[in-house]
């Protein structure tokens, strides 16, 4: 491994957890190895490449016992994994941007077949204009395809969430594919201290694998996999509706399961991450800013400075974006009088950020009007700094006494 490894017996970490220094992509690879998938299929693409290179090296070095398929493209990657999952394998891949676009046909089929495949999206902005850098546009573009999507804030959260993702996906009340989203560049290449859980503890956490109990390519259990449904006659319509309602139910169930599994993780490993929605210094706040992913660290630093300066501002961070955590978010929104939402991608149809667009639906459910506005920043590798967040805080505070602007604020427009 390229990163340094050291034992630190005096560290305040829970027992038996090795302290390491790794980039986000390597943290994801280490999490994958600890979750013991049977099969991995890969195709490299910036900024995901070092993730699958780390996975390939772990397998080549004998530190991970999985079959790896070096497929000829992302469409094949996910199709190969569908076969693996139908045969009962725990499966994993990672992609981003144009790779995810090329994967779209099997991507849709995966959630429909309820295959619990885990896939990291090392998020990358959309092309064109040509760019190879981070942004949430790829994951946002596929937010309506029935995958569970969670976004990580830190390198440690990438490692821990990657392991948890397999358990969430394979939970019998969920049985859906899961995307673990980590921000391309800042989180994929950001190198930070992590605690590596012990393999035996992870094995105990994961429990027995049961991937294809519901749908299988198995000569001992012959069944029609993905039969033709729909149309307007016979049992077509009702069968199709049964599939779709089941997917929606699985998505809703995942909200509870994600909370339960995060709680179990905290009990076993001593690290607690907000499963759906995190509140930071929201109590006593008049207004809040809302974030997603790795931008949140700088936002928290800005909130601390603003609070010290007497501004009554708090932070709401979304971890689980799909399904959108409506009830959890309502509880947080009930505490405030104005909201500024920061997106790292563009919602072309509404002329605002996609997370803002989703949040407007929740604001309607609030039963009272609170002013809100959309900020768009960090596109195509651009930075969102503590300074940018001070601008977000000041503009959001103005909503308490001034009308809300209709246009979004583009944070990096003059950088």
């Amino acid at each position: 491994m390229s990163a340094s490894t050291l034992e630190k017996p005096s560290a305040p970490a829970p027992a038996r957890q090795k302290v390491m220094l790794v980039e986000g992509n390597e943290a994801a690879a280490l999490g994958v190895a600890l979750a013991r998938p049977d099969m991995v299929a890969v195709y490299p693409i910036t900024p995901q490449s070092s993730l699958v290179e780390h996975v390939a090296k772990l397998i080549a070095d004998g530190k991970m016992d999985a079959d790896i398929v070096d497929a000829e493209g992302e469409h094949s990657v996910l199709s190969v994994l569908q076969g693996g999952a139908l045969a009962g394998a725990r499966t994993y891949t990672a992609t981003c941007g144009p790779g995810l676009a090329f994967m779209f046909e099997p991507y849709f089929r995966t959630s429909g077949m309820r295959l619990p495949i885990v896939m990291s999206i090392v998020t990358r902005d959309g092309i064109t204009p040509q760019s190879v850098w981070g942004g949430h546009q790829d994951a946002m573009t596929v937010r309506e395809v029935g995958w569970v999507q969670v976004y990580c804030e830190t390198v440690q959260e990438v490692l821990d969430t990657t392991i948890m993702a397999f358990k969430i996906a394979e939970h019998h009340d969920v049985m859906l594919p899961v995307n673990v989203c980590l921000d391309g560049n800042y989180l994929s290449y950001g190198t930070s201290r992590v605690e590596l859980p012990n393999q035996k503890d992870v094995d105990a956490f994961m429990g027995a694998k049961d991937v294809n109990w519901h749908v299988a390519l198995d000569p001992l259990r012959p069944m029609a996999v993905d039969p033709l449904t729909g149309g307007s006659g016979g049992k077509g319509p009702s069968t199709f509706v049964r599939y779709r309602k089941g997917q929606c139910k699985g998505m809703q169930n995942s909200l509870r399961v994600i909370e339960e599994i995060h709680e179990e993780w905290a009990q076993r490993f001593g690290r607690r991450f907000a499963p759906l929605v995190e509140e930071y210094r929201l109590d006593g706040a008049d207004y809040a800013i809302m974030t997603l992913g790795s931008m949140t660290g700088a936002a928290k630093d800005a909130i601390d400075e603003a609070r010290d300066a007497g501004r009554k501002v708090g932070l709401i961070k979304i971890k689980t974006f799909s399904p959108f955590p409506v009830e959890a978010l309502l509880k947080s929104l009930n505490k405030i009088q104005a909201l500024g939402v920061v997106d790292r991608s563009v919602g072309f149809r509404w002329n605002c950020g996609p997370m803002y667009q989703e949040t407007m639906g929740v604001l309607y459910r609030l039963g009272r009007h609170i002013p809100s506005m959309s900020f768009i920043g960090g596109l195509a590798g651009a930075d969102i700094t503590v300074g940018h967040f001070h601008r977000v805080i000041e503009a959001t505070e103005k909503l308490l006494s001034n009308p809300a602007p209709i246009e979004p604020v583009w944070l990096n427009e003059k950088d």
Binding site: A3, S4, T191, V386
Partner: protein
Amino acid sequence: MYEVRFHGRGGQGAVTAAAMLAAALLEEGKYAVSIPSFGFERRGAPVVSFLRCSDREIRQLTNIYTPDCLICVDPTLAKSVDIFAGLKPGGTLVQATNRPLEEVAIADTVGTVGLCDAIGIALQIFRKPITNTLMLGAFAKTTGIVSLEALKRSLEDSDFRDAGLRQNLDALQRGYDETVVHTIPQRAVA
């Protein structure tokens, strides 16, 4: 919080150096985060990487705009890039050069300079101008932020693409030993 910006050219190992320094700081019980600049990897093109260290957990995952210290691992870079942009007043420059202080262009904000003939030493050790581990030794000598011992242990845990561990440990030691540190009297501010 102490912030370092590395300047180098693609292939000189500035990104690797930031990660090795972060590992050494981690071993000394500090929190450290490093982030590379983003681009197509090309040998010879100017690159930067960033390192933050602190006694407390570091939350912001962003680039660095007002560094406490600059480590410039290439002697010609300052001609094409404004390496001093944003340097805090009284900040530190650790520069690879074979020139004396009088012939090195430095900004008014610089308070401490560590000069190391890193290319010359690298050509002796590696037969190639690989200066990153040398300049980590120069950084330790100039700032005292990290110990030479911690850097050695960090190198021992690293994989090297272009040279062996023993050469890099030698480079680290010579970078430390052969760096000359100057304190610049601060000019009166009107």
